[in-house]
């Protein structure tokens, strides 16, 4: 065996071990969702899968999980739409339109500081304000909060993609008479579509996953999935298997996105930090 092929073999072994360490907890929690409470507590290795937990979580009278799921889709969808729209337009405007330098600098510096503030601190700020305006516990309150939370990331990501739009193309379009919004929608948007997809996927995932703000700005009617899962864990008598079933259901969108949009996720996560 040559040295490189031995090194490669070791690499495969280590990577496989790590991959197993990542997958096992996820599979274990999904499996726990199919167990009975007793089978889990007894630590049986083999068990007969049951669907009761999923039925309880989804369809029992006392459970709001389907509502929570719907709330998460509403909040994730609308906040992503607002965030990506505002972020992309702002990136184009700041990056390629005639602003004095300091405007972009001040805005981006503020966005940077904002990005560093712990969500709980923001939640406290939003709570005080939204309560005075009676927006607490409403969808609008949480949608605006999530859109703002992701806006710095959206602006930064889109700025990177917008910068890559070739000058010649913009110039040619301008000579052909396109300007302003027409130029943006007809010429620029199609070019930055992959970046747009990456930003959209990330905004949605981050909104879907967000807990600290959602916990404090929602009530029973507007609670999102993470808030519901936290509730499971805090019940007087924890229903471990139902919590596991709810957790399994909550990562479904992420799994789907991972399967169909891995390319965009990787692009979004790496572009923002590296470029």
């Amino acid at each position: 065996m040559t040295q490189t092929s031995r090194g490669r073999a070791i690499a495969y072994v280590v990577l496989t071990v790590v991959a197993v360490a990542i997958v096992i907890p996820v599979l274990w929690i999904i499996a726990a969702g199919f167990r009975t409470q007793i089978s889990l507590l007894m630590g049986d290795v083999l068990f007969t899968p049951v669907l009761r937990n999923f039925q309880e979580v989804l369809f029992s009278k006392g459970s709001d999980f389907l509502d929570n799921y719907r709330n998460s889709i509403i909040v994730g969808g609308l906040s992503t739409a607002i965030c990506v729209l505002a972020g992309t337009l702002a990136a184009w405007s700041l990056e390629r339109l005639r602003w004095p330098r300091w405007v972009a600098h001040v805005f981006l510096a503020w966005a940077l500081v904002f990005q560093m503030i712990p969500p709980v601190a923001l939640a406290s700020a939003w709570f005080t304000m939204e309560r005075a305006m009676q927006l607490d516990n409403t969808f609008i309150g949480l949608i605006l909060a999530h859109a703002t939370l992701n806006l710095p990331m959206a602006v930064w990501l889109m700025a990177v993609f917008v910068r890559d739009v070739p000058d010649e193309l913009v110039e040619a379009a301008r000579i052909d008479g396109a300007s302003g919004p027409t130029l943006f929608t007809r010429i620029v948007l199609p070019i930055i579509a992959p970046g747009l997809a990456a930003t959209t996927v990330l905004c949605f995932v981050f909104s879907w996953n967000e807990f600290a703000v959602a916990l404090n700005l929602t009530n029973k009617g507007t609670a999102t999935v993470p808030v519901a899962i936290a509730k499971f864990a805090q019940d007087f008598e924890i229903q471990y298997t139902q919590m596991a079933a709810a957790a399994a259901l909550s990562i479904l969108p992420a799994l789907v996105l991972l399967l169909i949009g891995q390319r965009y996720i990787v692009k979004g996560l790496t572009t923002g930090a590296i470029k």
Binding site: A86, P118, P119, V155, A254
Partner: protein, 309 residues
């Protein structure tokens, strides 16, 4: 993302004049929504927060009773045991978790860059934890680390080691939370490092091999130095996120046992929301934000110093 601000406004390459749109209405319309959002949801609430921190607020029947307290709340910060525990634990947590993630992430990225088959598969698996909600990760590991039936205790039971109450023992609680965070965020570091390694110039490595450098020398003398910018970015980025930790702690330990895993976000949550001490909680928020601004200034000036040298 944090590091892009400088390069973002950088000029186009010398000699190339970027064609620019002259229409001021369109310029404002395009910038407007983001500006409005940041003013209404970013600036305004924080000003309100500072104002709140000078008061005690009591809610009665939908109306707020404001009592002016001056700087009292800020004076109370230093003597609040939860705040001091929160600060210490947050720093320990952030450094422990981030260093662990950087080292592991770097090793994984190196290994993946060396193999030629299965890269896509490994990458897909490694991304998984990034996409899972923090609160679900808390739920997963709350079960995994459970004293009675958790998989971890079952596994070490097979090795003949007795079960341990990982989250209930003050000695291992913070360590457990750190390990969970490493599980959660190593993949992110891995992704950034892999992207960095893939963009390294190949001819440098070829030259070093021709000169007879051993893999070990190649790693320390070429790969690591070339990767320093990526490492610095990843470190800064992860550190900022680690300081914000809340979700996992909320489910795993709730700050306990005692104050063993009390992190500053959790302290803030308890004081502001659980105890409904809005004025004092606001003071903690303002102090945290102020501290973050200090960190940012320190980080930027260090970067400037580093550049100047």
């Amino acid at each position: 993302m944090s590091v892009t601000s400088a390069s973002m406004t950088a000029e186009a390459p010398a000699g190339v004049r970027r064609p620019r749109d002259d229409d001021p209405v369109w310029r404002w319309v395009a910038f407007g929504p983001a500006l409005l959002l940041m003013l209404a949801m970013g600036t305004l609430p924080l000003i309100n927060l500072v104002f709140t921190s000078f008061h005690d607020v009591a809610w009665s029947g939908g109306t707020a009773q404001w009592t002016f307290r001056g700087l009292d709340h800020y004076g109370e910060l230093s003597s609040d045991p939860l705040v001091s525990a929160g600060v210490v634990n947050t720093i320990v947590f952030a450094l422990g978790a981030v260093v662990g993630q950087l080292v592991l992430g770097f090793v994984l990225a190196l290994l993946v860059s060396r193999i030629d088959r299965g890269q896509v598969l490994f990458r897909a698996v490694f991304i998984l934890p990034i996409l899972i909600p923090g609160i679900v990760i808390g739920a997963i590991w709350k079960l995994m680390l459970n004293f009675d039936f958790g998989l971890i205790n079952q596994a070490i039971g097979l090795l003949g080691i007795g079960p341990h109450d990982w989250l209930g023992d003050a000695g291992t609680a913070l360590l457990s939370v750190i390990v969970v965070d490493i599980w959660h965020w190593t993949p992110f570091c891995f992704l950034l490092f892999l992207a960095g390694i893939e963009s390294l110039p190949g001819d440098v490595f070829e030259a070093s091999r021709i000169d007879g450098a051993s893999p070990w020398q190649e790693f320390w003398l070429i790969t690591v130095p070339l990767m320093i910018p990526t490492i610095a970015v990843t470190f800064a980025f992860r550190l900022v996120l680690a300081f914000k930790v809340f979700d996992e702690v909320y489910l795993l330990t709730g700050g306990g046992p005692g104050t063993a895993t009390e992190v500053i976000s959790f302290t803030l949550y308890q004081r502001f929301f659980t105890e409904d001490r809005v004025g004092y909680g606001a003071a903690i928020s303002v102090a945290v934000i102020f501290f973050i601004c200090l960190l940012l200034v320190a980080g930027l000036s260090m970067r400037r110093l580093g550049r100047a040298q």
